[in-house]
């Protein structure tokens, strides 16, 4: 039985994975001069959450946001435009990989400082609640953000104000190169958050459909209970904290551990599942070719697009009527 949802989820994950593979391929050319914090391995979480939020949902991300940006916007042209620093990018190259933003498509902003965009989601949720528009604002962050004061401030404020906000902790177990054990003085984040006036969900599957189901539950609960949800999703970062290399056995990242995760790789897993849904190799290869072609065209266009003119420097420091 062919299922459009399963294919949609796969298509998005495939697009993100291939987009980052293209970054890996072209980064050494030194044309994309922006610090890349790669999402590879974490695609399923981003795709599941964005899909559950729907097109009207608003995501506030952070510096590792390639996956969420692409899941929310499906716009590789703007994405590569920005990475190449060209006028086709989201901010004409002024923002780069760490500050991607497309508010009109619901990817509101990304901060390069851990946890700093979380309270924005709470304020946006307040506005949505006032406007009674049914939109869910989502604070999207890594496990390192749990150690920042502003995460707890924001969670507390959202709970006491009963705001329609979804807190998503994308837990890859690492903050730069530091493991959880040296960073967190609590055993289990969901046990702690459970004591707040919100709902708590967790999942450590790499199956994007399972993650999607959990995210939907969390969002339904926000709507039915009128209070925030916190969802904790485990994942694995395939590459280094920054850059395109995959470092192993330098103290924090063992090859064996990686292989264990890679055996459950979410993109491969979803592809396999599609076969049992009735998709054939040929049909999938056809879908993939279309995505590949679009991505390659995006990279080509970005590489050829002009750099911003000098006067662009001063553009947008303040709001510009248009």
């Amino acid at each position: 039985m062919k299922n459009n949802l399963s294919l949609d989820l796969y298509r998005q994950m495939y697009l993100i994975r291939r987009a980052e593979e293209l970054i890996v391929k072209h980064y050494p050319e030194d044309e994309m001069k922006t610090p890349m914090h790669m999402s590879m391995g974490q695609e399923a979480v981003a795709v599941a959450v964005c899909h559950a939020l729907g097109p009207r949902g608003q995501v506030f991300g952070f510096y590792r946001s390639h996956a969420v940006f692409l899941a929310k916007t499906e716009d590789p042209e703007q994405f590569f435009g920005e990475l190449y620093g060209k006028v086709t990018g989201t901010a004409h190259g002024k923002a780069g990989s760490m500050h991607l933003a497309a508010p009109d498509k619901g990817f509101m902003c990304a901060s390069a400082v851990v946890a700093s965009s979380i309270p924005l989601a709470v304020g946006a949720a307040f506005a949505n609640k006032q406007k009674r528009n049914g939109v869910i604002a989502c604070a999207y962050f890594g496990d390192g953000a749990l150690e920042e004061g502003v995460f707890w401030e924001s969670l507390n404020a959202a709970c006491v104000m009963k705001l329609p906000v979804l807190f998503v902790c994308e837990d890859n177990g690492l903050a730069v190169h530091s493991k959880r054990e040296v960073r967190q003085g609590f055993k289990c984040i969901t046990d702690v958050v459970r004591h707040f006036e919100g709902s708590v969900y967790q999942e450590d599957s790499t199956d994007v459909e399972v993650l999607y189901g959990r995210a939907l539950e969390a969002i339904e609960s926000i709507k039915s209970q009128g209070k925030p949800s916190f969802i904790h999703l485990k994942c694995r970062r395939y590459l280094d904290h920054i850059g395109i290399a995959a470092e192993f056995d330098v103290g924090y990242n063992s090859k064996a551990e990686f292989e264990e995760w890679f055996a459950r790789d979410s993109v491969a897993l979803q592809r396999k599942k599609l076969f049992s849904d009735g998709w054939t190799e040929e049909m999938l290869a056809d879908e993939e070719r279309r995505i590949d072609a679009r991505l390659e065209e995006s990279v080509r266009k970005a590489a050829l697009a002009p750099f911003p003119a000098p006067e662009e420097l001063y553009r947008g420091v303040f709001y510009e009527r248009h």
Partner: protein, 346 residues
């Protein structure tokens, strides 16, 4: 016209704007509680409800990011802090998020966020309840910084700040709350970025900020008895800082003192002095003089506080020295009427 005080001018500005625009809301620690931010939010929660005038957790950083999130999502927040010192907990939000949001979207998203902060002084406020910090904020591209001196300016500038589509830090000196002036009852705006001649004169230009305008006015009154007429320029907005009025004034007088309600080192007085020196180099008859706080934390005990804050006497002496006049007898002058008036605790 009718005389109202600075505090009432601020309250009236918010009230009238909230009547006009339902997207405006006021929030902050203790805002709707009985003290009503020194009375400046009196009646707002009763009139507009707790959805538009509300208390918050003691979480300055998150509640600043909250304001940004609400502002980019169609509302117009006014965030209030009873001391500017508390805003330091939110510097990350202000400098990393609020000031850059517009830039990240090439100016396509409105960020209509007003942050009202009160500067404390006297009766033992000490070093964590007395800072002004306006040059901290003015240093950052993407933030506007307004510090009115008079009730009329407070009302007109606050309405402009609320209607501005960019983040504005609105700095209120606690002692200015007593100032009374004729203020139009109808809503009106004073453009952000425009200065004002607070007192005309021909012999000396004093560029003063916030409370230092009050000291400068007293100094001017004393000096006029000897025939010296000082011109006082209140920039009112230091980011953006339009130096036109100050430059024109100095071209006329040939002398300039910058009296800033802040520390001198690397402060607004340095910015103003540099601009004057650059633009009036040939016309200056003496180097620009700067007056500000002693370069120490603000002490609590009154006798040391008197040493810490510059007053009208310091301005009189600076003027005399620049003009080569004999020091006048100031022993009969009262320089501490406000110090005696403010009984605290806040």
């Amino acid at each position: 016209m009718r005389g109202i005080d600075f505090c009432e001018a601020i309250r009236e500005a918010m009230w009238q704007e909230m009547e006009r625009d339902p997207t405006i809301f006021v929030y902050g620690i203790g805002v709707p509680t009985h003290a009503k931010i020194f009375g400046s939010v009196k009646g707002l929660s009763e009139r507009f409800g707790l959805d538009r005038c509300f208390d918050t957790p003691i979480s300055e950083e998150a509640m600043t990011g909250f304001g940004l999130g609400a502002a980019i999502n169609g509302l117009r927040p006014i965030h209030i802090h009873i001391r500017v010192d508390f805003l330091l907990l939110a510097i990350n939000q202000l400098v990393n998020m609020v000031s850059t949001f517009s830039y990240s979207t090439r100016g396509q998203v409105k960020v209509p966020l007003v942050i009202r902060v009160v500067v404390g002084r006297g009766w033992g406020q000490g070093y964590q309840h007395s800072k002004s910090l306006h040059s901290y904020f003015a240093h950052i591209p993407g933030l506007k910084v307004v510090l009115p001196t008079t009730p009329r300016d407070a009302k007109g500038l606050l309405i402009s700040a609320i209607r501005d589509d960019n983040p504005v830090i609105f700095i209120e000196h606690r002692w200015l709350y007593w100032a009374v002036e004729d203020v139009p009852e109808e809503p009106f705006t004073i453009p952000i970025g425009e200065g004002r001649i607070l007192r005309p004169g021909k012999d000396m230009t004093i560029v003063a900020t916030s409370w230092m305008n009050i000291e400068a006015l007293l100094a001017a009154k004393i000096l006029s008895r000897t025939g010296v007429e000082v011109e006082i320029v209140d920039p009112r907005t230091i980011a953006p800082f339009d130096d036109t009025l100050a430059v024109e004034s100095v071209r006329k007088t040939g002398h300039c003192i910058v009296a800033d309600n802040d520390w001198v080192d690397c402060g607004f007085s340095a910015e103003a002095a540099a601009r004057i020196s650059e633009k009036c180099f040939g016309q200056l008859k003496s180097p620009v003089t700067r007056i500000g706080f002693a370069q120490t934390p603000c002490p609590t005990v009154r006798c040391l506080e008197n040493e810490f804050y510059p007053n009208a006497a310091a301005i009189v002496r600076a003027v005399e020295s620049k003009l080569g006049l004999k020091p006048m007898d100031l022993s009969k002058e009262d320089f501490c009427s406000h110090e005696r008036r403010f009984k605290g605790p806040f």
